[in-house]
Amino acid sequence: MSDDALRTDGGTAAVSRARRTLGEMTAGEASLYGVLTLAAAFYLVPIESGLVTSFKTGTAIIETAPFAPPGGSGFTLEKWQTAIDALLRGMGNSLLYAVPATIISALVGSITAYGLTIPNWKPSYKALVLAIIIAGIFIPYQAVLVPLTQFWSQWVQLGEILSFVWALGIPDDYVGIVELVITHVAYGIPICTLLFRTYYKTMSDEMMESARLDGASLRRVYRRIVLPLSGPMFAVVLIYQFTQIWNDLLFTLVLVSTESSAAAPVVLILAGLGTSMEGQDFALRMAGAFFAALPTLAVYILFGDEFAEGVAA
């Protein structure tokens, strides 16, 4: 909260920059805030209505307005209970690949961006390599799916390479998790490199140049100077990548494939939750949606600024 107060101060400072039409009437200002609040409602209502619905009984769903809170008799935690039971193992599986894949891709992105920004080699070649890497951000993943399936099923049979792991009693479905980590790292390199690249470009290179003149190797410069200064960008990249990887459905669908698998990630289970012969159980779906979104919501609420920076780059 105190944080918020600080930020509003920043906002008023912007006003004093005198860019805005200062002498405007309060009526105009009031309508401005009116529009902004309406827009905020537009963005919040789907989420709010999902939240209240997740606490409703079957009859309350039909009888109360979709955005109204459940009355005393219409309130139930049963759907959350069911959703958590169904999704908890998926949550664990998702963490199992999202966390390592996020950390590795951030590190790799930082190293790649360093090699393509700070060392002294021909800028036009650097830009070419970068262009080839950055183009990878925009590839529709559909264009690589069939080869990806071929690659993991026929060419690199991780399941056999890791047979010693399954011998320990871990279900061999978990090979999908390992595949997801490697796949997400590979496809995460372009965006992570781009984010770090924009950051390193603005770094003052005096310190690095003098270190280089003193005979420090590139590795030393990275470890002693660049890496310690990369903290803020690591926050941005880790948050952005975690959200992306956690939220992705397509790769989990292709690499893990069934929601009944022991290694099924949370998005995969959620996509099929609450559909049955009797029709759709909306309260259950909403509870599941919220539960699955908890990690990304928490990250967003705690680190919203870093997230905004990540998406803006």
Partner: protein, 346 residues
């Protein structure tokens, strides 16, 4: 042998004469080992290494350990896979066979696509989705950015709220919108009911469903467009606003004539990213129905590709559709990357 190499190199490389002009020590170390110890293996390595240095820059070889392995991994998974996909699309691969038969390549899958009305519909829907979604999202984002940029209080709170949906998974937002578009109890029918309209079967009516989906996607990503535009607006010097004011331009005119034209860069980069998000609408449509077949009228290439390959096991056909999708993406991002490269923005 070495002299021969050097002479050959001098002959083919027009810039070889510039060696002496270099200020750093590279030239000295380059000649020294070759002169003192010609023919030794280490000399050859050094020689080639420094030759590369001269061509690419002094840190090229040493820095390659940083970027080359990730570059190769990325290239294998992105470019290798796309090329591989192209080959698969030329085979007749289908069913439970382990691998395609590459001995007989033809364009059969592409002619099949052109004769498939489902493919044509999906292609048209994809175009509609990309264009309507991108234009709509940019417009909303721009309006929000301009409003927020007017020095309001609680700027951060508003911004956080507008961007919130973007942190959610398509799988999650699809659940929300499924509920909103519910025929009997959904908010959408409630809202238009106030005006005496509806109820409308948002997801059941073929003519409407695609736009209902586009609206949901706009809800999710207009906050992103706002953030990009906000950054663009902040980069415009205050004097431009003041000059327009002095000229007596109305606020609306000022934005239209002076400010918006300066947001070209922001618009282009946001549009490219939004199109990429639009192509990922697969996750949303899949979650909406919990399966490979989206509601009738909302099939796009992304969903059709996955359905053909993973539900119908028509691998080659799926690969061909993927190539078409890739071509569409390339038509957007190719010019964009050239544009950024020319502007030295990479």
């Amino acid at each position: 042998m070495f002299n021969f190499y050097r002479r050959l190199h001098r002959a083919i490389s027009p810039s070889a004469g510039d060696e002496d002009a270099r200020t750093d020590g590279g030239v000295v170390s380059e000649d020294a080992p070759a002169a003192s110890d010609p023919g030794a293996d280490s000399g050859v390595v050094d020689r080639i290494g420094s030759e590369i240095d001269r061509r690419f820059g002094s840190d090229f070889v040493e820095s390659s350990i940083f970027w080359l392995p990730p570059f190769l991994l990325m290239a294998l998974f992105v470019y290798g896979a796309v090329i591989w996909n192209l080959f698969i699309s030329l085979t007749d691969y289908q069913g439970f066979a382990n691998a395609p038969d590459y001995s007989n390549l033809d364009f059969g899958m592409y002619t099949r696509a052109l004769a498939d009305s489902g493919f044509i519909d999906a292609a048209i829907n994809t175009l509609i989705l990309l264009i309507a979604f991108t234009v709509g999202t940019l417009t909303i984002g721009l309006i929000l950015a301009i409003l927020i940029d007017r020095g309001i209080r609680f700027e951060n709170t508003f911004r956080t709220i507008y961007l919130l949906p973007m942190s959610l998974s398509f799988v999650v937002t699809a659940q929300f919108w499924l509920w909103i578009y519910n025929f009997n109890n959904g908010i959408a029918n409630g809202v238009i009911g106030v005006f005496g309209l509806g109820p409308v079967s948002w997801l059941g009516n073929q003519a409407i469903v695609l736009y209902a989906v586009i609206f949901a996607l706009m809800w999710q990503f207009s906050g992103y467009a706002m953030v990009v535009y906000l950054a663009g607006l902040r980069a415009i010097p205050d004097e431009h606003y003041e000059a327009a004011k002095v000229d007596g331009a109305s606020t609306l005119k000022m934005y239209w004539r002076v400010i918006i034209p300066q947001l070209k860069g922001a618009t282009i980069s946001a549009a490219v990213v939004l199109m990429v998000f639009g192509m990922k609408a697969f996750d949303f449509l899949y979650s909406l129905v919990g399966g490979y077949r989206p509601p009738n009228g909302a099939d796009i290439l992304a969903t059709k590709m996955v359905r053909e390959a993973y539900a119908n096991l028509e691998w080659a056909y799926g690969a061909a559709i993927a190539i078409v999708l890739f071509g569409m993406a390339l038509a957007v991002i190719g010019p964009y990357l050239v544009y950024e490269y020319r502007r030295d923005n990479l």
